[in-house]
């Protein structure tokens, strides 16, 4: 077919080595180890690059008489010395899984975004047609209801015009044209067109402070989603405020997030606000307001799973909570949210695995230290002295005492001439 390759497949992404300390990924393991030596295991005093954190610690204490307390340039919850990392070795299982989840999530997100922008089916899958088709199958009554809601909002917007705020923000985005709108809302439409792709790309940033303010026009915002999603031909339903369905593809990564999602509820750690609320209630309502923050948002925290998992990891695996610990909140979330059951069981699995790993590590280290055997271990008597006590080397000075007094030399002894009294004593003597 001569289809253009669109980039790495999920498997390729998963296989990429990455750095435990800063989550960066690399083309191959060698570069990763070089990165770790240069960024995380470099002695700040003399610039020497060590292979591992343990090595650096020993170097610092022996050469500079200093104590290494944390790894440089590491993420806040990864700067501990307790984990011995070399390349990809030593990464705790739970962290590894969290990373893979995140990679998968990002991959699917990017995929969804691309679909949204290009209208192409997902790479290499027949099911790709679904996102476009699904809206058509939507319940007619549903559509009507939403249309009504949309109209109401529009009326509201026309009166209050809260959407004006959003307009400039979306200006930079490029999306499919709004020409297909049935009843383009004069003021709101430009804004809305831009939102959909954005919202798809970065579901997490939504929510937060802006929610209340933007509530009135949420539905409007949602409606333009359609144009962006669908090929131009899909125009007919575009104006409808029904937004839930088209989003479905965007949330395909959801399964991956499942364990993490509940944690986001209730109390969210500051850096990772409520990412996952949207999916549960058709995804739309809470979104619009936070647009401005989009640009500045780092990609990685897009899903809450890793940080929280790492947190847990820290608690379970290292025995103390990480500094910004949202631990209590997170447990609350577990208790109050229905999906909590799932997540807690996953947590249990993770933590028990972590404990096992920790338990396995400790004895191994002890073994290393103790297993030495000395061939000669007498601290006070030298081997020669011991040998001298053997019967065959026995020698009694008394026998020769008189004879060998100073000045009285037992004469020159030439090879072969052995005098009787020079021989080993007679025990009977």
């Amino acid at each position: 077919m001569g289809k253009k390759r669109r980039g790495p497949t999920l498997d390729e992404l998963m296989a990429r080595p990455w750095c435990y300390y800063c989550e960066r990924d690399f083309d191959d393991l060698k570069i990763l180890t070089l990165h770790q030596k240069a960024k995380h295991f470099k002695c700040e005093r003399c610039g020497r690059r060590l292979n591992t954190a343990g090595g650096l610690s020993v170097h610092m204490s022996q050469v500079h008489k200093e104590q290494l307390t944390e790894i440089e340039n590491a993420l806040p919850n990864r700067s501990g010395l307790d984990v011995e990392i070399f390349g990809m070795e030593g990464v705790p299982d739970d962290v590894l899984q969290a990373h893979q989840q995140r990679v998968a999530a990002q991959f699917h997100q990017a995929e969804a975004e691309r679909q949204a922008v290009t209208g192409n089916p997902p790479a290499g899958s027949g099911a790709g047609g679904q996102p476009n088709k699904k809206p058509k199958l939507e319940d007619f009554s549903d559509l009507k209801a939403r249309l009504a809601a949309h109209r109401a909002k529009r009326a509201e917007a026309a009166a209050g015009g809260s959407s004006g705020e959003a307009t400039p923000l979306g200006a930079g985005q490029t999306v499919s044209t709004p020409t297909t709108y049935g009843q383009p809302p004069a003021t709101a439409s430009p804004v809305h067109q831009q939102q959909p792709p954005v919202s798809l790309t970065y579901p997490p940033p939504y929510g937060g402070a802006a929610v209340p303010a933007t509530a009135p026009y949420q539905h409007q915002a949602a409606s333009p989603v359609y144009p962006s999603f669908s090929p131009p031909g899909a125009a007919p339903y575009a104006p409808s405020p029904v937004a839930a369905a088209p989003y479905a593809p965007a949330y395909s990564p959801q399964p991956y997030l499942q364990p993490a999602a509940p944690m986001g509820y209730g109390v969210t750690p500051p850096p990772f606000p409520q990412q996952h609320t949207p999916p549960t209630d058709t995804g739309l309502p809470p979104r619009p307001g936070s647009l401005p923050t989009l640009a500045g948002l780092p990609q990685r925290p897009a899903f809450a799973a890793p940080p929280i998992n790492a947190q847990q990891m820290q608690q379970m695996h290292m025995g103390h909570p990480a500094p910004p610990a949202p631990a209590p909140g997170y447990s609350n979330g577990n208790a109050t949210q229905t999906p909590g059951g799932v997540s807690s069981s996953v947590d249990d699995l993770i933590s028990s695995a972590a404990k096992e790993a920790a338990a396995a590590e400790k004895p191994a280290k002890k073994d290393k230290a103790k297993n030495t055997r000395m061939i000669y271990s007498d601290e006070n008597v030298s081997p020669e002295e011991k040998m001298a006590k053997l019967a065959r080397y026995a020698f009694s000075r008394q026998m020769f005492q008189q004879e060998t007094a100073l000045g009285e030399i037992p004469g020159s002894i030439v090879v072969g001439t052995i005098r009787d009294q020079d021989k080993v004593i007679d025990p009977a003597h």
């Binding site: 073994d367 297993n371 030495t372 055997r373 000395m374 061939i375 000669y376 271990s377 007498d378 601290e379 006070n380 030298s382 081997p383 020669e384 002295e385 011991k386 040998m387 001298a388 053997l390 080397y393 020698f395 000075r397 020769f400 060998t404 007094a405 100073l406 000045g407 030399i409 037992p410 004469g411 020159s412 002894i413 030439v414 090879v415 072969g416 001439t417 052995i418 020079d422």
Partner: protein
């Protein structure tokens, strides 16, 4: 790849206690003392001057096992120390033996300082005897006795200093000049016997946690290396300044990992400095000889394992040969010296074989 090596013909019949080359740069003479009560004199060259198998020139019978031997003023004179408590001088030409002094226990070491013309012996009676070479023949000359806090296990000399490694990890460094002066005084003043209380120039505790096995001084008079029964070697400097003392270090060696993962630690029986390059060789109970660069802290090379423990090592005066004495070692849990092959192996070193690699 491996250097030229040969086994010396007619080796001693029992374990070797010491092996010394003549310090004369042109000489290939070597003396070996053994538990078979003999001292052996070898020359690596045969009658035609070609270095071959080595030749046994003479052997000198003693009354008891001989524990140490060294060359004296010239290569026709050697001193021996043994289990019969005596320190002897042997004239190689006439085979005449002279008792220099008698200790009150076996004499473990004897060394000769050419610069100060002193013979120093260390005995398990925890004393050093300092003799002048005419002692023994001259009844007026009585050796001076220097009491030590513990049994001396190893002695080593530089042109100016004497290092005594003792039990209890003690280590004394004496200034030879002071030693020579004091013994000369004690000689003239024979009234109160021959006991000399002399304060060592430095008292140190070994940097190693276990019993000191051997000590050897650097040929440049800057410091010394010591080894312990626990597979470790320490390198230290004489200079008492903090900068120099900060340079001292120790390292592990002569260890093997057994199949069950246990680290087997062998004693380091012998150390010898190369007279020209200033590098040193270590020989362990594992039968391994390794060459080290003490300045750049690197191993230069390690030779193939020998079938039995390395009892003694010696470099020839010109640094061209390294003699290795192989003897069954006396180990834990053995009541008897195991039967083993006693061998003297001489390695002819390549031009740069024992040369340091230079700093990193």
């Amino acid at each position: 790849m491996s250097s030229n090596q040969f086994t010396v013909a007619s080796p001693p019949t029992d374990a070797i206690s010491a092996l010394k080359f003549s310090p004369d740069p042109n000489s290939t003479r070597m003396v070996v003392s053994s538990w078979d009560k003999n001292v052996y004199l070898y020359d690596l060259r045969d009658e035609n001057g070609a270095v071959g198998e080595g030749k046994l020139l003479q052997k000198f019978e003693h009354r008891a096992p001989v524990l140490d031997v060294c060359f004296g003023e010239n290569e026709n004179e050697i001193y021996t120390a043994g289990l019969d408590w005596d320190v002897r001088k042997i004239d190689l030409n006439t085979s005449e033996q002279t008792v220099m002094s008698s200790h009150e226990a076996g004499v473990r070491n004897v060394v000769y300082s050419r610069e100060h013309n002193l013979i120093i012996s260390g005995s398990w009676d925890s004393t050093l005897h300092v003799h002048r070479p005419d002692a023994g023949t001259n009844t007026q000359s009585i050796p001076s006795t220097i009491p030590l806090p513990s049994k001396p296990f190893s002695l080593s000399l530089t042109p100016t200093k004497l290092v005594v490694a003792m039990a209890s990890r003690a280590l004394h460094i004496y200034d030879l000049k002071a030693l020579a002066l004091l013994t000369a005084q004690a000689d003239s003043d024979t009234a109160d016997g021959n006991k000399v209380e002399i304060e060592p120039w430095q008292r140190r505790e070994s940097s190693l946690k276990f019993m000191t096995r051997c000590v050897a001084c650097m040929p440049d008079d800057a410091g010394y290396a010591s080894s312990s029964i626990e597979g470790r070697v320490a390198v230290e400097w004489f200079d008492p300044s903090p900068e120099s003392q900060a340079r001292k270090y120790a390292f592990k060696c002569h260890r093997q990992t057994a199949e069950d993962g246990v680290d087997v630690v062998y004693p380091v029986n012998a150390l010898a400095f190369h007279p020209i390059h200033g590098t040193f060789a270590s020989g362990g109970g594992d039968g391994v000889v390794a060459l080290w660069d003490g300045i750049s802290k690197r191993r230069i090379r390690q030779y193939q394992k020998y079938p039995s423990s390395v009892a003694a090592l010696g470099f020839s005066g010109n640094g061209k040969y390294l003699a290795i004495a192989i003897s069954p070692g006396f180990e834990d849990g053995k009541d008897d010296v195991p039967e083993g092959v006693v061998k003297i192996i001489v390695k002819e070193l390549g031009e740069t074989e024992a040369k340091g690699k230079g700093a990193k």
